[in-house]
């Protein structure tokens, strides 16, 4: 019996000092309109992929800015790049490019980083 029947909950502290936010900076540098996002969730509401699975650009945005890259990795490839979110975005964020660059950034991270 492992842990005598007790389980420890993963700490839910978001440690800004420890989290790697270079990816988020990389994206903001290449798609500045991403900083306009107000996390209203219109993109998530219209998302084609969200019909079938847990995919939300609003979440992706929050995870990215916090530097929780594992979460981002988990959901970013579910996007079909159909572009509906770009059309409904009230702030004019080029959401399609955000996801495109995010995928690119993680690919680069995998290929070139140690």
């Amino acid at each position: 019996m492992k842990g005598f029947g007790f389980s420890s909950i993963k700490p839910r502290v978001i440690d800004y000092d420890r989290n790697n936010r270079t990816v988020s900076e990389y994206i903001l540098e290449r798609e500045p309109s991403f900083s306009l996002c107000i996390a209203c969730g219109a993109c998530a509401a219209t998302c084609s992929a969200a019909n079938f699975t847990e995919m939300s650009l609003r979440k992706l945005n929050i995870f990215l800015k916090r530097g929780e890259n594992d979460e981002v990795r988990r959901i970013m490839n579910r996007c079909m790049l159909c572009g509906k979110c770009t059309l409904v975005c009230p702030r004019g964020v080029n959401t399609r490019n955000v996801i495109f660059i995010t995928q690119q950034a993680f690919k680069k991270l995998d290929n070139y980083a140690v």
């Binding site: 219209t46 699975t53 579910r78 509906k84 770009t86 059309l87 004019g92 080029n94 399609r96």
Partner: protein, 639 residues
């Protein structure tokens, strides 16, 4: 043996370029796939050969397509190409007939006047030297236009001309020097000998009056030879490589070789065949409306040629295809961009200046580590539907503009079509947006998923409301159903008499969506439908010249402000005649135009919606009745 040291630079240049062209043609031929090699062989020893020769004459020499677009530019290109060709051809004949012996080395024809200063005094020789002078004057007139175009492009009817790099400038200068230096060299020689015709003769005797003509001639012959030599040496590194490679390209194209989806010989021949003439610059809406002036096809191809990293340029394009339809060389610019999008960024080690003479290819470099991993594993197979005649696939964008899909359903009901609304509860994307982003492998998964659903339905026809979906359905899916856009389907219903429409007394203007018009060539059906329902206004922005709405999924990089700028310019152009309705047949175009529509703009609706407006009330009532009966609503007529 007549010889003078000044012919050496010309000879070096000439033999270099001949050897280079032969070598590159052999390399290109070796790199062709086996099927393409066979095609080229068959094309070369068969019927396409005469077609190629004809095309070389009409396009490479006369430049017919440019003539149609802009006569002044056409004249400029023709005088330089055709004039130079005639000068070489007739010069060779002249040297053969009037020279001291037959079968001379090439430099004899080019520097004929230097070796035979007394030639052309009487008889046939006089007529001949008149012809040669006339051709030289013809070329010089074209050169004058070229110089005017470079500095004041608006005079010759071009808003912009291409920006050049240093090497291009040197090559351009050497090209510009060739013919004036020939004129002066010949004139001085003629002036000293008292020969020559109307141009070189009179200019020569004028100079001889106050200048030492014989001593002046020699430096200009050197200049002539040097500028020719320099031009030939620089040719492979500059845009003038289009002169030899276009010939190869024409043979390849007429033999049936196409770009395909990978970078190969044909793509490379196309890249080298771009003359950076700049006709695509004026066609690009991003330059006109959004002020983006470095991504146009001329610069994209130039970047490819120089092994620059053109990945970002390739992504920042609406993929509307306007440049491709206007390209006088017929380069498949869209396909080239797609190849670059798939290839990704150009690695640093390829950007060496020494590879300019021999290119390296950016292929097999981006090996994906996760190539076998499924991305869209969350998709469940679609439920099998019962037998239907027609499958209706609305597409993602139509779901954002539901007026179109409800209109289509009304039309299906009114015409009594047995249909099934495939993606009623939200769709899986067709895959085209992923392909446009260069993600073909991921797109294949979606294609597989949708194909399974379409195959299992057993339908005869697949109707879609979205031209983006239609494009990928026809080009990348392997389906055994007939794929139709809803304009085609409605047109058929009307022609078969299954849909009766009344005539609306309104004026309409039609906007050809890029993917439907230039992409798939569907121009007839939407117009037929509109002729039936309303007064159709022709505009100059139609068919091949239709503007892109700016909302295109082809462009990943464009920000919303610039998209709006493109859209409002396009809308203003289309609404110039103040119609009641602006009709389009793409949900994305409709959404984009609606975003920028103002108070005075016409109402922007889809073609399906205007057809529903034109349906007689009885058919509409019937539909409402049917719908209500289905819902179980009791139908009472209020008097």
């Amino acid at each position: 043996m007549q010889f003078n040291p000044f012919v050496i630079p010309f000879n070096i240049g000439l033999y270099f370029i001949i050897i280079y062209c032969v070598a590159i043609c052999i390399i290109w031929f070796m790199d062709l796939s086996r099927a393409d090699k066979l095609r080229l062989q068959r094309g070369f020893f068969g019927k396409p050969f005469t077609r190629s020769i004809k095309e070389i004459f009409t396009e490479s020499l006369i430049h017919r397509k440019i003539f149609r677009l802009n006569p002044v530019l056409g004249y400029m290109h023709m005088s330089l190409a055709f004039g130079w060709f005639l000068l070489i051809l007739l010069g060779t004949i002249e040297a053969d007939i009037f020279g001291e012996k037959h079968l001379n080395p090439p430099y004899k024809a080019i520097f004929f006047r230097f070796f035979n200063p007394d030639h052309g005094a009487e008889g046939f020789a006089r007529v001949y030297s008149f012809i040669m002078d006339f051709i030289l004057a013809f070329i010089l007139s074209g050169l004058m236009i070229a110089i005017i175009k470079r500095f004041w492009s608006r005079i010759v009817g071009m808003k912009k001309t291409t920006n050049l790099k240093t090497l291009d400038r040197i090559a351009l200068l050497s090209l510009w020097l060739i013919f004036p230096s020939r004129l002066l060299a010949e004139s001085f020689t003629c002036g000293a000998a008292g020969s020559g015709s109307f141009l070189t003769g009179s200019l020569g005797s004028f100079f001889a009056g106050f200048l030492p003509a014989e001593a002046m001639a020699y430096p200009f012959w050197w200049l002539y030879s040097l500028s020719l030599g320099l031009f030939f040496i620089l040719l492979p590194r500059t845009r003038y490589m289009h002169i030899p490679s276009e010939l190869f390209l024409i043979f390849l194209r007429n033999s049936g070789v196409r770009t395909g989806d990978q970078y190969g010989s044909y793509a490379e021949a196309q890249v080298y065949s771009c003359s950076s003439c700049g006709i695509c610059l004026d066609k690009c809406q991003l330059s006109r409306s959004a002020g983006i002036n470095d991504i146009q096809s001329a610069y994209f191809v130039k970047g490819l040629k120089r092994n620059d990293d053109v990945y970002d340029i390739s992504l920042n394009c609406l993929m509307c295809g306007r440049c491709e339809t206007s390209c006088p060389v017929g380069i498949e610019l869209g396909a080239l961009r797609m190849i670059q999008r798939r290839a990704g960024e150009t690695p640093e080690d390829m950007k060496s200046i020494w590879t300019g003479y021999m290119r390296e290819r950016n292929q097999d470099r981006n090996i994906d580590k996760e190539a076998n991993k499924k991305v869209f594993n969350y998709l469940q197979p679609e439920p099998v539907v019962s037998e239907t005649e027609v499958l209706y696939f609305a597409g993602c964008m139509t779901h954002l503009s539901p007026g179109i899909s409800t209109s289509m359903i009304k039309i299906f009901e009114a015409a009594g079509v047995n249909y099934h609304f495939m993606d009623q509860n939200g769709s899986v994307c067709c895959g085209r947006p992923l392909m446009l982003a260069g993600k073909d492998r991921e797109a294949r998964e979606l294609i597989q998923h949708n194909s399974m659903a379409i195959w299992s339905s057993g339908a005869k026809k697949l109707v879609t409301s979205c031209p983006i979906c239609l494009k990928v359905f026809t080009e990348s899916y392997h389906l055994d159903v007939e794929v139709l856009h809803h304009t085609e389907f409605i047109c058929r219903l009307i022609e078969e008499g299954r849909l009766t429409l009344k005539f609306l007394n309104r004026t309409v203007v039609y906007h050809d969506p890029c993917e439907l018009g230039r992409g798939l060539g569907i121009y007839y059906d939407p117009r037929m439908v509109l002729y039936h329902v309303a007064r159709f206004n022709d505009t100059e922005f139609e068919r091949d010249n239709a503007p892109c709405c700016g909302g295109s999924l082809g462009n990943i990089r464009l920000d919303s402000r610039k998209k709006t700028a493109v859209a409002s310019d396009a809308l203003n152009d289309l609404a110039r005649s103040n119609p009641d309705f602006l009709i389009t047949s793409c949900p994305l175009c409709k959404k984009t135009f609606r975003k920028v529509a103002q108070n005075g703009s016409p109402e922007i609706i889809d073609i399906a919606e205007i057809v529903v407006k034109a349906m007689p009330p009885s058919q509409k009532e019937e539909f409402r009745h049917n719908k209500n009966c289905q819902r179980g609503v009791k139908y009472t007529v209020v008097k």
